[in-house]
């Protein structure tokens, strides 16, 4: 099975820093955004400017990001709704409309979610998975875990195709909800599982024939350049400046 279009056709060097530095910046950025107090909407919006800058700089489709955002985070929206309901203390009036504490904190939850998830999506759309694996190795993540991640990612598309074709075959033979119950579906999942284990055996034999030694680290580790160091320092300084200006 092939990877989805947006994964397969990623620009190779869309981000201004190396893969390891970009991952580090992403982690620092998320910590700064999450550390914004629950009633400070302007600070989250100010951090959102960074995400918007990276989206435009890496020439990613804003539509694609928005589409992904719409289908995730129902749990976050539920929690934001909880704040709306439980904190109804008016804070100020805007054009004869009482703005409550819950409205602000719910807005902060939704905005934080939007900003952090967009940043994650920018990273995932800019860095191919094998380079992400190498970035993790450079951070000292154990080889077994990095190899495991690459195997899961590689075969999830292949087995995904198989699962889809199994489901399609079942749907073609079932009328209404007949044949879609737990018992029948479990047999489909079981058959996919048996096929997967047979496939694992073949994969292992093929990998062993090519000299697989329990890891996939064939490429040299990406060096951490001076440019990377400057980018990390500058962005951290910027995040700190936003915090100082917007959070009293």
């Amino acid at each position: 099975m092939s990877e989805p279009k947006h994964h397969a056709n990623r620009p190779e060097h869309a981000l201004p820093a190396g893969d390891r530095a970009s991952l580090g910046i992403l982690a620092i950025f998320i910590i700064f955004v999450v550390a914004v107090p629950k009633n400070n909407l302007p600070a989250v919006i100010a951090y959102g400017a960074f995400t918007l800058f990276v989206i435009t700089a890496s020439r990613l489709s804003l539509r694609l990001i928005m589409k992904r955002l719409l289908v995730i985070s129902p749990f976050v929206l539920f929690m934001a709704a909880g704040n709306l309901y439980f904190d109804r203390q008016p804070i100020f009036d805007a054009w004869n409309f009482a703005v409550t504490g819950g409205m602000i904190s719910a807005g902060v939850i939704a905005a934080k979610s939007l900003v952090t998830i967009s940043a994650l999506l920018v990273y995932s759309h800019s860095v191919p998975f094998h380079r992400f694996g190498n970035a993790l190795r450079a951070f000292g993540v154990p080889e077994l875990f990095a190899t495991q991640l690459q195997l899961v990612y590689r075969y999830s598309f292949m087995l995904g195709d198989e699962a889809r074709s199994l489901q399609k075959a079942r749907d073609l033979r079932s009328f209404g909800h007949k044949g879609k119950d737990i018992r029948a579906t479990a047999q489909l999942i079981g058959s996919l599982l048996v096929r997967s284990s047979l496939r694992a055996e073949k994969i292992y034999m093929a990998m062993s024939a090519r000299g697989f030694g329990n890891n996939l680290a064939l490429q040299q580790k990406e060096p951490f350049t001076k440019r990377d160091a400057i980018t990390v320092l500058l962005t951290t300084w910027y995040f700190l400046a936003v915090r100082i200006v917007f959070i009293p």
Binding site: F145, Y153, E162
Partner: protein, 343 residues
Amino acid sequence: MHMSDALLSPAVGGAFWAVSGGLIAWSIKKSSMDQDGRKTALMGVLGAFVFAAQMINFTIPGTGSSGHLGGGLLLTVLLGPHRAFIALASVLVIQSLFFADGGLLALGCNIFNLAFFPAFVAYPFLYRTIAGNSLTSARLGAASMTAATAGLLMGACFVVLQTTVSGISELPFGTFMLFMLPIHFAIGIVEGLVTWAVVAFVAATDPTLLSMQHESDKKRSLTPAVFILIALVTGGTLAWFASPYPDGLEWSMARTSGQEEIEGRPEPVHGTLSSIQEKIAFLPDYGFRSTGDGPSESTDPASPVNTGTSVSGIAGSLMVLILAGVIGLFTGAGMRKTEKTGE
């Protein structure tokens, strides 16, 4: 049940990153002992299988809605706790980074809630105890249903605890629990049913897949999981019944000075240090921080049940366990070094 970054404080997110990171390192150490490349390939493919199996929907009886397999317990039954924990953690990393399902800071919480409980609590204590080495349908059914439901409920409880301790949401602890537990109980039953049906199918068609794990289970040690479970129960519930009276030192001070805690001299160093302590202590006096608008916990004063005490007890127990584990690792490494140099 995936937590998002927007609902967590950096302290809670960071603490669970440390816990989950430690568990991954421990599981890798345990899994690396046999050096079997075949199992590495199987782990990778079964991790991918979880992704693929989640695409196959089934009709949930009596609701008209559809659901899919979670896969935590099934993976543990097939791979064993350590390898399943690594496989589930890798699935959650990919879901977080490449499908934006769950946040990056929340990854530690998600790995703990969705992988630790099925792999290290529900499987060894419930599934293995009930199912034993038998592959009979009734035993497999009871084991799958109990373990899947318990694993999901424990994970859901920790979602509530992590969110409440972070202090971002206004949802009261009790209301949030009442909302989360019934839903996850129902999801757990369905997850248990599907796991049972799949395990029964595999037992009938390719039992070698199951026997591989059963053989290696005979050698496993449950010591760390037993300690974690005891710590959670003691910190989470037995702490409610701790004596409300002052301890020996406070009693002595009360007798001599008339106060339980002696006021320090108003020196600037003391003031600065206490203000730093007030800021960084996320559970002051073993309870939630008061907002100043009244009591922070809506509990009955006559009841011994106290959410803040539970959270403090669990957080404290976990921190002590991590600290003890880290000290143990360093001590063990030091001893091995001494042994080598002695040779």
